[in-house]
Amino acid sequence: MPTLTIDNQQVTVPDGTTVLEAAEQLGIVIPHFCYHKALGAVGACRMCAVTVVEGTFKGLKMSCLVKAEEGMVVTTDDQQSVEFRARVSEWLMLNHPHDCPVCDEGGECQLQEMTIASGHGLRRYTGKKRTYNNQQLGPFIAQEMNRCIQCYRCVRTYKDYCGGKDFGVMGSRNRVFFGRFKDGTLESDFSGNIVDACPTGVFTDKTYRFKSRYWDLQEAPSICPHCSLGCSTVPGGRYGELQRVRSSVNEKVNGFFICDRGRFGSSYVNHPERPRQATRGSWKLTVDEALQQLDVKARELINQHGPESVLLLGSNRASLETNWLLQRWAEEIGCRAPLLSAHLPRHQAAQVAAFDLADRLCSLEKVRQSDLVVAIGADPLAEAPMLGVALRQAVRSGGKVKVFDPRPVELPCDFEKQTVSPTELLDLLDGTSVESKQLVDLLRGAERPVLVAGGLMLGAGGMLRLKKIAAAASNDQRNCLVHPLLGGANSFGAALLSLPEQDDLLTRLESERIKMLVCVETDPLLEAPDNERFAKALSLLEELVVLDYLPTPLSVHANLFIPTTAPVESEGTFINNEGRQQLFAPVIKPRLPISVTGEGNHPPREFIDVAPGSDPIPSWQLFQQLLGEATDLPTLREKMKTAVPRLIDFETLQPGGVSCRVAHVDERCIYTDEIPAAPEESLQLVVTPARYGSDLLSRYSAKLQPRFTEACVQLHPQDAAARGLQDGAKVVLDTVEGPFNLTLKCNDKMAIGCALVENGPKFQQLVPGGKLSFCKVHAGMSHG
């Protein structure tokens, strides 16, 4: 822990800290470009020069490369350093165009800031500037190479950190060019990060072009709602429109970067068909009237038909506050406790994570630091993309990654893959088989082992088996940690609030005792298993109430519809897959975007005192109204903490921080799994989320459409040949949920004896996560 003096201020820092980082702790920002906390220092831009007055090597040094030493004395504001930095800045600016006033990066440009900070205010160079032809890099990223200052951050982010393969640096000297071999869409699922990493306007968000100036943008710390990892983001919007999302920093979770699904999947907020008006059939209502009707009807039905007659359904898209208040409202009106998920097997898996695995859950940071990660039943790029990047960091620091999965899993790093079927996965975790013992031995041999548990594939039973493996691989010195992947942004939170649940939505609906169903930010037509049966069961209802911010198919069937706000329009909390309580702040107010109401004119010519389409209010406020208590969020959170003691420090948390995890709890161990016998000549059905559009939010985001993939069923070539089927053939996939006509794709990287389908925008019928199930694939066409 050396103590050093920088600009006459003393600071003590951990061993290995650089002078630049030490200065940062004192609040002294030394100008820099190539240094980035996640990417490290390369000493290439020469911008962070300081003078070492006392130390092993004296004189002008690059502060990003010099380690802090005991007794070191450094000055950052002496004449020599200041002049050096000013000249470096001038030199970096030689070729930079004078386009700041019209540049897409204007106002949030590090080059602009550092140039001013370094005192280079007047341009002396009058020669010709170097110019380039730009490349077309696809729908997400715009390139303007003339602005480049060769800091290499883009290629270090895209290739080194995120593992992209189709981007690099070409040429030499003052001709270096950052781009692809040929024009074309950047292939990486993390391509958008070069927008954040670029310190100037070379790479910018194409989907956000010409929308807003940075200083006009409304931004707030938020949590990505697209998967269960809960990456930190900063969405930005203006005039009622969510315009972009950039990554934020949470070193425990995503680190510095996010995936493209999170970055470009935000336009669901501005969906042209988004319902913004409370309605009963074709009648328009005010939200107050709608709530009144909801309350009266629910109480009336309970009085007439008993507590079974009203079923409330929460979700993993709804915030922790909403789900908790929904439970309170159920108590208030005297109906049965709400279900907090339309998908029981997913929910049970999340409950195992939230209860049984609670004491060994680990963050993405721990995954990055692990020396051995074994992923079981997990396809990171589909279920939790940033986990793929975390695995890459583990490999880059010398760790190993092993994946057991039936799917053709791809990762942005070297890894060992064992292709096994879902039943073989469960055998692997049974603790007695040879493979199972080998797995335990492998984990025992590691110093910081982590098991990634794919909750969708494993289900509650598989997760409990995995817990035993983790326990067997732990010893007195260290635990074998578990990083679970769950269904949605608040799956953990919904699970945490729930009692052990054995009853699923369908069984209860088909019992015909339910007269009224209230769906809060969920659409079982898209999210429940066997959604065909659910659709039929809807006709048994007297009243269907939907509260949502998406134009889901269910909202069309609703007798009573009440609009709610999207996460970026309200405050709330999601609990991520490792139990971290993360708060998000409101970015914009709900309203019809001015780009819609103005019909292309600006400013809009209609003057009214309420913005059109501003009816939606946060769902937790709706339930507060129903409960007749209008407290602010801190008071509500204090109440929740008293009721749910596991929510440690909940009332003091703020959006944007590292935040903390929920308390441990005694395990429940209530779920058992059975491996059903396979019918003859059947294949195991594997339903996987598509990389884009599997979560409803990205499905309703037009920006992501270029990434949506066509529906197909995949078989191993051996299985296809055994059935006399050719690649590209039209086939019927026969499942317990009915037959589906699909195109066959052969894939030799998947498990033999399985049929694989992707749930996404082009195929919504089968939902991933659930019990083992079997199917048949044969030629022909079904007219079911």
């Binding site: 189709d166 690099g168 070409m170 071999f181």
Partner: protein
């Protein structure tokens, strides 16, 4: 690594050359180290390296095209655009400069009627500036293919151009 299915060299490498590189790449821990060798073999056969040559090299060595392109565009002795049959690299570094390198460059431009970066109409010569060729003892010097020429006087230049023209017509 080389794929099992047959690689089509699209006429950029002869069969022996292709077989040699595939075999050699298979023996190496880092086939990437062969990038320059393959590119130079393609250049020798074809005069320059077209996009297909970059892709072929990547296929042979099991790399991405961008990995090869990064190397190909870094070196000015790998040509990614068509050049004349005799690309003339004229040294512009200090020893040659102090021994009349600028005059030599001027002379070549005059005699061939082209500027740096251009190719004569008959497709024989391309003039290119080069950093130090490593033959300071022969300053002022030029390099054509793998051979150095220098020190060059005005007469030497005439003779050299004449000889290469003759060689080309034979």
């Amino acid at each position: 690594m080389a794929q099992e299915e047959k690689i089509d060299s699209v006429g950029l490498l002869d069969e022996n050359g292709l077989a040699y590189f595939i075999a050699h790449a298979g023996e190496l821990e880092h086939p990437r180290e062969l990038v320059i060798d393959v590119l130079r073999a393609i250049q020798k056969n074809h005069g320059w390296v077209p996009d297909e040559g970059v892709e072929l090299t990547a296929t042979i060595l099991g790399l991405e095209p961008i990995d090869v392109e990064e190397v190909a565009t870094f070196y000015d002795k790998i040509f990614r655009r068509p050049v004349g049959r005799y690309p003339i690299h004229i040294c512009d570094s200090i020893c040659c400069w102090s021994n009349g390198g600028e005059e030599l460059a001027e002379l070549f431009q005059q005699k061939l009627g082209i500027a740096f970066g251009q190719t004569t109409e008959d497709g024989l010569f391309t003039l290119l500036p080069s950093c130090c060729l490593g033959v300071c003892g022969q300053a002022p010097a030029v390099m054509i293919h793998q051979r150095h020429y220098g020190p060059l006087s005005a007469d030497d230049v005439d003779e050299l151009i004449e000889r290469l023209r003759r060689e080309a017509s034979e």
